[in-house]
Symmetry: D2
Subunit: 239 residues, 4 copies
C-alpha cells in the first residue's frame, strides 16, 4: 500500500485556518476507513518550541516522546485521536541542523552541500520517514507560513520535487483568504490570484483551493478563481 | 518650470481608493498654491466609456470637449474645480489604437513596432502632452487596476522608463489595503508586502505607501511595512 | 476528429530556432500520416509585415491570399508543402485591432473589455478558427519572442487558458538555449532554469524542452534540466 | 570614517567572473589610497571548505587563522597583498549554525526566530563585524551563486535591508554574461535583462552592471542594457 501525500499551504496571509483544514481533511479520510497521519512544517528556525515564550507564542504542545512542538500537533491529536511524535514536526532549524551536522560528520562524502537540492531532499526524507514508520494511506502535511514568503520556499521546492517524481500521489491544497473590505462590501478574489501566481513561480500548481471568507463564495467568484488560478471548476474548487 | 509627476497605483485589490488618493493629493498641492493637473489611466480596452452599460459600470462622465470618460475624471473636476479633456483620459484601447494607426500610416518608418518600448513610449508621450499643454507644477497620474495584473504592466513600464530618465521628478505612490479578517481580528500586512514585490518585479520601488484599513495603522505595522516594502519610515510611510 | 495543439515558445533569448522546431515537428507528424497545420504568432504590433523595412527585417513572405506575413510562414510552406493564409498569421496588432473594432461596433454589448481575458480569448478564437477551417490532427503554434517578456505574456495566458479547458489536447514545448561560454568551456543550464521559472510564473509548465547548444547535452545536464525544470526525464526531455 | 559597501553578485550563470571583478575593484580602490577589505559569501551549506573533495571542488585556501576557506579568498589575498581570516568568509552553513546555536542557548529571549529577518540580520552583523574590526574605507562583498536562485535570496535580502538603512553607503554591482551563440553570431542582452528582473523581484536595483562577453559591448547594446535594466547609461554601465 502506497502512501498518498496531501500538502496544505496558505495564501494571502497567515492565520487563514490551514491547521483546521489539515485536521478536517484527515478526520474525513479517517472516517472513511483510511489510515491517516499528519506532519506539521513550522517554517521558523527554532529547533523546537521549547525556547519560545508561551505568553507570546501560545502554549507548547508536548508529544508523547517529549518533543516540545506547537499547538497544531495538539489539534491533530485531538481531531484524530492519535498520538504524534518528534518525527511529525519539522522546522527550518531542525532541517538545517541535521544537514549541517551530517556535513560536519563527512556524511556528504566530500560534496559541496547545496541549499537546493540538499535542503528539500532532507525535507522529503523526513516526510517519507513518517510514511515508512506509520504506513498511512494518506499523509497530510501542513506547510506553515504564506505562499510567496522566503521562509517556505524550500518546503515548496520539496513538494515540487516530490510531485515531479510521484505525480499521482501528491495533491496540493491552497487555503486562501477572500477579504470583504468594509469600504466596498464585496468579496475580493485578487489576493488569491496573486497567491497562486506566487505558487506557480515556485513551480507548483494547486490542485484544490479552499477559500476562506466571512460569506459563502458565489458562482461567479468560484468561476473566476477556477479560470484565473488554473483549478478545474467542477471537481476541484471546494469552497 | 518643470512638471513633477506623481503616479498613484493600487495594491492587493481594486477599489482601495486610488481615485480619492489622487484627488486629495491634488487638492492639497493646489491649496499650497501649486498648479496641478491629473490624468486617469483606465486599463480597459474600451476606447472610451461610451460603449459601457451605465447600469453595470456606472454613469459616464462627459468632459467639456465631449469625451465620454469615467467617473474618476468627474471626481477630479469636482475636487479641483478644474475642467479636464480627452487628453487627461488614457485607456489601453486608446494607446493601442493610436500606435496601430500610426504603424498603418507608416509613421514608424519601416520599423518593427514592439509592445515594449513602443506602447510605454506612447503612454509617456500622452502624459507629457498634458504637461506641455497645461504646464502644471504637479501632474498626478492614476493607474487603474491592481499591481501585478497583466493589464497595468505596460503602464508601470512607462513609469519605470520615466523614472529612469527623470529620477528626481517622478514619485510613485502605492495605495494598498490592510485587511482585518473577522476570524483573527488583526490587521495583516502580508498582502501589501506581496503587492510591493509585484511592483519590484516590474522594476518599480514605491516611494510612498498609503495604507487603507478599517483601523489606524499602529507603529509595529508601520515599521513592518517600512522594512519589508523598502520605504523609509520617517518621511515616507503616510498611513 | 479533435485537433491537438502543440505550442512552441523560446527561452533565454531570441533566435534559438523556434521556427525550425515548429517546421520539424510538423514535418515529422505529417510524415506519420497526420494532417498538420501551423500558426505563427508574431508578438510585434505591426498588423502585417508590409510596413517593415525589408533591408532590416528581411523579406516579407506573401501568402496566397495576399497577406504580407513573415518568413516563418514561408518556411512552414516549404517544409510542409502546404499553403497558408492570413488566418495562420497572428500579430499583437491584429489581435488588438480586432478587439478594439469590435468594441467600437458595440460587439461586446456594453461590457468593460479587459486586457485579460478579452485579448487571450481573441487569440484562442483565432487559433480555433484555423482548426475549424483546416481540421488538422495537429496544429502547431509558434509563439514569437522570449519567455518572460511582456510582449508574449498574453499569448502565454491564452495557452494557459486553453490547457485548463483541454488539458489532454495541449502540449507546450520550450526551445531553450544552453550557452558554452568560451571563458569556462562548459555548458550552462541555469539560463534555461530561469526561462522555465518565467513560464511557471505565467502559469505554464512546459511538457517538453528542446535544448539548443553547440554540443550534445550530456546525461547529468539532461537530469539537471529534468529535475530543475519539472520535465519527466524518461519521455520528455528531447535534446 | 564610515565604511562603504560594494556588493557584487552574478547574473545568468555561475563562473561569470565575480571573483575577478571583486579583486579588481578592490585593487583599483586600494591603488587610489583607500583602505579596502573583502568578504566572500559562499552560498553552500558546508561550514567550511574542509569537507569538500579537492579533486572536484579545487584546493582549499587556508587563511592565517586556520580557516579552510575557498580559493576566492586566496585570490583576494594575492590581489590585495593583505591577509584575511575566518570573518571574511561567510557560508549559508555558518550563518544558520550560528543562529541555531544562539536559539538553542536562549539567545533570542523566547522569540520565534524567523528565516526573515533573522538570517539576513545575522549576515548583516557578520559583514558589519568585518567593518568594525578592519575599519576599511570600502568593504567589497562577493555574493556567490546566480541572481534568482534560492541559495542567494537571503543574502540579497540582507543587501536590500542594508541599502534601505544606509542608502548612500551601499552600491550593488551585477556581473552578467552576454552570450554570442555560434548559430546567430550576435551578442544577446536578453539573459541579462532577465537576471535584473530577478534582482528587482528580490527588491534590489543594481547600480552598476559589468557585462562579460567574448567581444566588446557596442553602443546600442549598452543603451539597451541601460534602458531595460534601469541603469544610468552615462555613469553606470561599465562594460
Amino acid at each position: 500500500m502506497k502512501t498518498r501525500y496531501i500538502f496544505v499551504a496558505g495564501g494571502v496571509m497567515s492565520s487563514v485556518g490551514k491547521g483546521v483544514a489539515v485536521s478536517s481533511i484527515a478526520k474525513i479520510l479517517k472516517s472513511k476507513g483510511f489510515r491517516v497521519s499528519a506532519v506539521k512544517i513550522a517554517p521558523y528556525i527554532n529547533v523546537d518550541a521549547g525556547t519560545m515564550n508561551p505568553l507570546e507564542h501560545g502554549e507548547v504542545f508536548v508529544t508523547r516522546d517529549g518533543t516540545e512542538s506547537d499547538q497544531d500537533i495538539g489539534n491533530y491529536e485531538r481531531f484524530l485521536d492519535q498520538n504524534f511524535s518528534s518525527q511529525n514536526y519539522i522546522t527550518t532549524g531542525r532541517v538545517y541542523l541535521a544537514v549541517i551536522n551530517r556535513e560536519r560528520n563527512l556524511g556528504y562524502e566530500g560534496r559541496c552541500v547545496e541549499v537546493v537540492p540538499d535542503i528539500p531532499e532532507e525535507v522529503i526524507s523526513r516526510i517519507q520517514g513518517v510514511s515508512r514508520k506509520e504506513r498511512p494511506d494518506f499523509l497530510i502535511v501542513e506547510i506553515g507560513g504564506t505562499a510567496g514568503e522566503y521562509q517556505n520556499l524550500l518546503f515548496l521546492e520539496a513538494v515540487r520535487m516530490m510531485k515531479l517524481k510521484h505525480q499521482k500521489d501528491v495533491v496540493f491544497v491552497l487555503v486562501s483568504y477572500l477579504p470583504i473590505p468594509a469600504m466596498v462590501g464585496e468579496m475580493k478574489t485578487k489576493p488569491t490570484q496573486s497567491a497562486v501566481r506566487s505558487l506557480n513561480e515556485a513551480g507548483i500548481q494547486p490542485d484544490i483551493i479552499i477559500a476562506r471568507s466571512e460569506r459563502l463564495v458565489d458562482k461567479p467568484r468560484k468561476r473566476k478563481i477556477s479560470v484565473s488560478c488554473g483549478v478545474q471548476e467542477e471537481d476541484a474548487v471546494k469552497l
